[in-house]
Amino acid sequence: MRARTLVLPLTLAAVLPFAFASNHREAPITGIDRAADITDVYAFVSYGPNQQPNTPPEKVTLILCVDPLLEPGNGPTLFPFDPGIRYAIEVDNDHDADPDLAFTFRFSTEFQLPGVYTAAAGFENGAFQPGTSNLVVPPRIDDFDDVGLNQRQSYTVERVEYDGGGKATLLDTSGRALYAVPGNAGPRTMDYAALYAAGTYQLANGVSVFAGTVDDPFFIDLGAAFDTANFRTLESGTPGVLSANEDASPANFASDTVSGYAVNAIAIEVPIEMLTATNRIEPATSPFATIGVIGSTSRQRVTVRRSPDPTRSGGGFRQVQRMGNSLINELVIGIGSKDRFSMDRPKNDQQFAGFFLDPPIVGIVEALYGGALKVPSAPRYDLLPLVTYAAPIAANGTPAGPIGDMLRLNTGVPAAAAGQSTRLGLIGGDAAGYPNGRRLADDVVDITLRVAIGGVLDPSFPGFDANVNGRLGDGVNLNDAPLGDVFPYLGLCPDGRNRRHVDPGEPGGGPVN
């Protein structure tokens, strides 16, 4: 039977909506799949509390944050990782924008007290039914074995070598299960700090891991950014332009919209030789020192072809999202391409080259400033260091490779000495900071505004003004919660009972205007 007009049913596709992008829900698909939504990826040479200048690098810390803007008080299930998702941090070490190895994380959930209404319950040494010895509320949680940690998640970590290199499960050196640190329900329920400490594991071969709900380390005046770049007017008198004083100050002049919110983080610290193509620690001048890093989340999928032998089929997962550089998908990629960008691989990013070399956001901001800000013209070859292996991040002689969004890290560059790092990273004279990798305290919003819009990497264009182009910023200079100075470096999750979101007009929240 031939069906002359057999065009297949299209009805639903015709009405699929596009969602509006926001900082943490930048693509339509992650707008509705928040557990798979990557908020940030970090990669940096590990450092210590008393870091000395020019200490040779030994290890790299890689962090993947997912599931944005978690309100710590939002019970009763808190914020488990999704057992249906394969979380991965992937590394390219041969400059082809195609990862060569990955660390993958899978979670599983158990309930220790299935009859109890909440994910975590605790009270001093336990609460008993009056007049009886019946334990009604378990003791305060300070250990993963405490039954008050009703919803308990364990996880596995695998090191995967692509191109047939195989997989290896990374185990805790003592053989213990690896547990994810839960959200901080509050001081009555749990000793969150104790769980955070216990949830940092030393694995074999010098690898450390952590997974859990922590303070969201990202800081930004999100509301202003997505009110069509309606940044606040501060000392300079020009919206979104900081004064020299504000620029240098370790304080916030606008509200950190992410303050008081949590995020789910996966962190792994690995010896550098486990990452480089040469299996050695390379000096910063070596082409092999620079790696590319992405985070990715994947779910199992329906495939067109059913594999008769699943052990020989690599098609069981679909990538939901990937992230390399901060804010690329949010600010650079067009709304009609965001899902494809999220789900495609960096080696295929040539299709998005038009966005990279001529970001639409630049013209938008220029128009909004009405002539007060001059911007560089397209094509923006000055942005290539973000999307290829190029100086000033990669050493001379490093193959540039294809255009691909990855977070580039020169693993040979020593970590900044204690007290010497700056929030402005590489453009602030701190070679160990973004866009050479990314540390938790790097102010990627200000750096991105200055690099992508201000054109500071190549200020030779007409109208460049160091006091404007070089001072673009949202007024949020640092995270609200203190960061750690040893692995996993992440801040403690705000407690659900007492968390505070800093709003405009409040102390530390900057002006409302």
Binding site: M1, R4, V7, L8, P9, R318, Q319
Partner: protein
């Protein structure tokens, strides 16, 4: 613009006692939108969409022509607008202008790579052109980008069918059915009918009949379902009942190839005279549209080989011309059969092997493959293919031929 609206309106059913179909409702809604905002391009895009849907409901290609007219108005109001170009791709597919549709869909895909509908156009065009790897890639993007979406599931099911995975196709169609809103009765009927076709193709006639009867309950006189039910009646040995259904189908969708099915059913029912007249009518009508993109050339090839004597060379010439335009498995099967009928066994074998390599396991194709391999001097493979044809659909129209061939093969036996 006013003429277009009037023309579109005139194509709608005017029986006030019959509830309007989903597409008719969409046409009326679009016409209302045009009336209130005659200079809004999107309103004409909506009309084009509704007309293309109506084309599928009725199998009347005139709706695609009207859709193109609506698209032109839209493009005149807002040159290059995305919505109009998407509708154009769909209308081109409906008119079987697959190459043009593929080119347009590729351009749209590069422009808006997140648009799942555009991937659907790519799948449809490349399936018809026989570019299955390209179609599969696009379809996988559809599945990945919006898991569970109905257009992706139906397309993936069709690819699975072509790859020979009937049960896998049924799994996806079952999932798709539950994703269709209850108001979309034609979409539901389409899925049920196609599920019926798949069950029948592997000999599950009772299941198939139940499904297609439900389809007709949802969307009465649905041309696609009438044809499917007729096939089931033929499987049940009731060509007279099949002919009644096929006559209704032809009344609803008066295309040449629909005459061929009817003529064959009448011949099986013993009505040789009317069958002969309809065969002639089919040939004339099919020849007339043979040069166009929307044609009945595959059916015409089958007719010239199987239903009349001495026309094998005409069949081959036609099949070769058609395969230049599209090299999907069904067209390649037609070419292989035409080569075989002309005694050009090696070329026939090459073509049919390429079809089998894709994976298609339809009883008719398996029969053709068995016959060609028998002629090639490969009785063992021929026997396996003929038996597979009979096992899959023991009551197919090629079953008697397969049984005869099996009996005549060296060391052969009748089908078991």
């Amino acid at each position: 613009m006013q003429n277009l609206a009037l023309l579109a309106f005139s194509l709608l059913g005017n029986d006030s006692n019959v509830a309007p179909s989903p597409a008719e409702l969409l046409v009326r809604r679009a016409l209302t939108a045009i009336e209130s905002q005659p200079n809004r391009a999107e309103a004409y895009n909506q009309l084009a969409f509704a007309l293309s849907r109506r084309a599928r409901e009725t199998a009347d290609p005139a709706f695609y022509e009207r859709a193109h007219e609506a698209i032109q108005v839209s493009l005149a109001l807002e040159p290059g607008n995305l919505g109009a170009r998407k509708q154009e791709a769909w209308a081109l597919l409906g008119q079987h202008r697959f190459g043009e549709a593929a080119d347009l869909a590729s351009a749209l895909n590069q422009e808006v790579p997140d648009d799942v509908l555009v991937y659907g156009f790519l799948v449809d065009a490349h399936v018809e052109l026989g570019n299955y790897a390209t179609a599969e890639t696009a379809c996988q993007w559809m599945l990945d980008m919006r898991p569970g979406n109905v257009p992706a599931l139906t397309r993936a099911a069709y690819l699975r069918e072509i790859y020979g995975d009937v049960d896998g196709a049924l799994d996806l169609l079952g999932e798709a059915f539950y994703g269709v809103p209850a108001t979309e009765s034609e979409d539901q009927a389409w899925i049920l009918t196609h599920m019926s076709h798949l069950h029948r193709s592997v000999g599950r006639y009772d299941v198939a009949r139940g499904l297609v009867e439900r389809a007709l309950g949802l969307f009465p006189d649905y041309h696609y379902a009438l044809a499917e039910l007729a096939c089931i009646r033929l499987s049940e040995g009731d060509p007279r009942a099949a002919a009644v259904l096929l006559r209704r189908r032809y009344d609803a969708a008066p295309h040449p190839e629909n005459l061929l099915d009817l003529a064959r059913a009448l011949r099986s029912a013993g009505d040789e005279e009317e069958a002969r007249a309809l065969f002639d009518q089919f040939e004339e009508a099919a020849m007339k549209e043979s040069e166009g993109s929307d044609n009945a050339n595959r059916e015409l090839v089958g007719y010239l080989v199987d239903d009349v004597d001495g026309r094998e060379s005409d069949a081959l010439a036609l099949a070769r011309r058609e395969v230049e335009r599209r090299h999907d498995v069904f067209t390649r099967d037609a070419l292989a059969w035409a080569f075989h009928s002309n005694g050009r066994t090696e070329e026939a074998r090459k073509e049919i092997e390429s079809v089998l390599e894709v994976g298609l396991r339809e009883a008719r194709v398996l029969y053709h493959a068995g016959a060609i391999l028998a002629a090639s001097g490969e009785p063992a493979r021929a026997r396996a293919l003929l038996r597979e044809s009979l096992v899959r659909d023991p009551r197919s129209e090629v079953a008697p031929g397969a049984i005869d061939l099996l009996a005549g093969l060296p060391g052969g036996d009748a089908a078991r």
